[in-house]
């Protein structure tokens, strides 16, 4: 019993399910890809099925999806104005993807897609890429006014612009690191406390009695993780809205 040590990192390992190698690249279908597909399938199926009846007075499921819709809609309208609503499909998809991926990751034996930094960084790069491309498309070089604050003395300008540029580039990093670190830390903590339960109960009657404490902790942490899963999806979507606002109205 004590031989099989609990490895809290094991749950994050990626292993191929269907190996595919094309031209020296490893393009295998992995468990990560499987759960991304599952995330998309669950989100799409939920939204489609719950709104398929289209009743005027929504039932429970329909009101959940309407709540999600209005929640993201209000968020985007608050942050980026009505002009920002053209990005609604983008923000809503991001929000639902992150939320469903986080929630799916809470099931035991499931893989948490958002606990890999490359996934979250990909999402954040998508956001910042949209901001940059749309900003230059709409405002041309005027988009660069974003980096030049008003009322700064000329001799300080190069320094300030450099700092603003670094601050801008650090946005996708902090966006992705935050989501990734929250999910990773939460799942590792859960695993460690569940591991305590196993290794304590191997010690005999006293251990079984003592393992109630980490069990209670694991239950409380699961509730906290549920909250964090929602909160991080919300934060991701809110920050996306704020960055899109920069693309829409640089320089003001």
């Amino acid at each position: 019993m004590a031989a099989d040590k609990v490895d809290p990192i094991h749950q994050f390992q990626i292993h191929p399910i269907i190996p595919i190698h094309i031209g020296g690249y490893d393009l295998s279908f992995t468990n990560s890809a499987l759960f991304m597909l599952a995330t998309v399938a669950v989100a799409a199926a939920f939204l489609y099925l719950s709104t398929s009846s289209r009743s005027l007075v929504p039932g429970r499921l329909q009101s959940v999806s309407e709540m999600a819709y209005e929640f993201v809609g209000n968020m985007l309208r608050d942050a980026a104005g009505t002009q920002g609503m053209k990005f609604f499909p983008f923000v809503f998809s991001l929000f639902m993807f992150v939320l469903v991926a986080n929630l799916l990751g809470l099931f035991p034996y499931f893989f948490t897609v958002t606990s890999h930094i490359i996934v979250t960084f990909g999402l954040a790069a998508l956001v910042i890429g949209t901001v940059v491309v749309y900003g230059f498309m709409k405002h041309g070089l005027g988009f660069l006014k974003l980096f030049v604050p008003h009322g700064v003395p000329v001799y300080l300008l190069p320094l300030v612009v450099l700092i603003e540029v670094i601050s801008f580039v650090s946005r996708p990093v902090s966006l992705s690191v935050r989501l990734f670190a929250n999910m990773l830390a939460g799942h590792i903590t859960l695993k460690v406390f569940s591991g305590f339960v196993v290794s304590l109960s191997a010690l005999g009657a006293v251990g079984v009695a003592g393992s109630v404490l980490p069990l209670a902790m694991a239950v409380a942490l699961t509730a906290l993780e549920l909250l964090v899963a929602f909160l991080q999806a919300y934060v991701f979507a809110v920050l996306t809205c704020m960055y899109l606002n920069d693309a829409l109205h640089p320089g003001h």
Partner: protein
């Protein structure tokens, strides 16, 4: 009975909440704990009828409350200033505080990491080692502090400078 209550329910504006109206309301549906005399005055048919009437009233009141709350939300949404990131959830409990702390520290660290990485990359490309790293790290530190200040709502957003922000169209 409901016709007696409706004028109060449909009344709009702050006059709803003055003492006189409030008293009228308690007289109108004063069924609970007041004894038989009030019930007799309002509903002479007996307690069963008054009970149902009370239920109905409660429904109306709930609907009305819902509607007024929606109106309030709508009018708030139109005139609410755009919230600064993180400012509204600063003091709403320990979990929010934990989230705030994680957010601020991740902003700070992201600034430093990006600054140092840019400096190191410039060093590698231009061969100016170690000056790119030094300058990059210091600039990244500045950017990190700026991120923290911005995230805490103490400094204006990107590009706005010292001007107040334009209202949203």
């Amino acid at each position: 009975m409901s016709s007696k209550v409706r004028p109060w329910l449909d009344g709009r504006g702050p006059s709803n909440y003055v003492a006189g109206d409030f008293k009228k309301r308690t007289d109108g549906d004063g069924l609970t704990g007041q004894g038989g005399c009030v019930a007799d005055k309002n509903g002479p048919d007996g307690t069963g009828k008054t009970g149902r009437g009370k239920q109905h009233e409660a429904d109306i009141r709930d609907d009305d409350l819902e509607r007024r709350r929606r109106d309030l939300e709508a009018s708030l949404a139109t005139r609410r200033p755009d919230r600064l990131e993180g400012k509204d959830d600063a003091k709403t409990g320990s979990v929010a505080g934990y989230g705030q702390a994680l957010k601020l520290s991740s902003e700070f660290i992201a600034g430093i990491v990006v600054g140092a990485a840019l400096g190191w990359f410039i060093d590698r490309v231009a061969g100016t080692s170690p000056w790119g790293l030094i300058v990059g790290l210091l600039l990244g530190f500045g950017a990190g502090v700026l991120n923290v200040l911005r995230s805490a709502g103490l400094v204006s957003e990107f590009g706005t400078g010292d001007k107040p922000r334009d209202p949203k169209e």
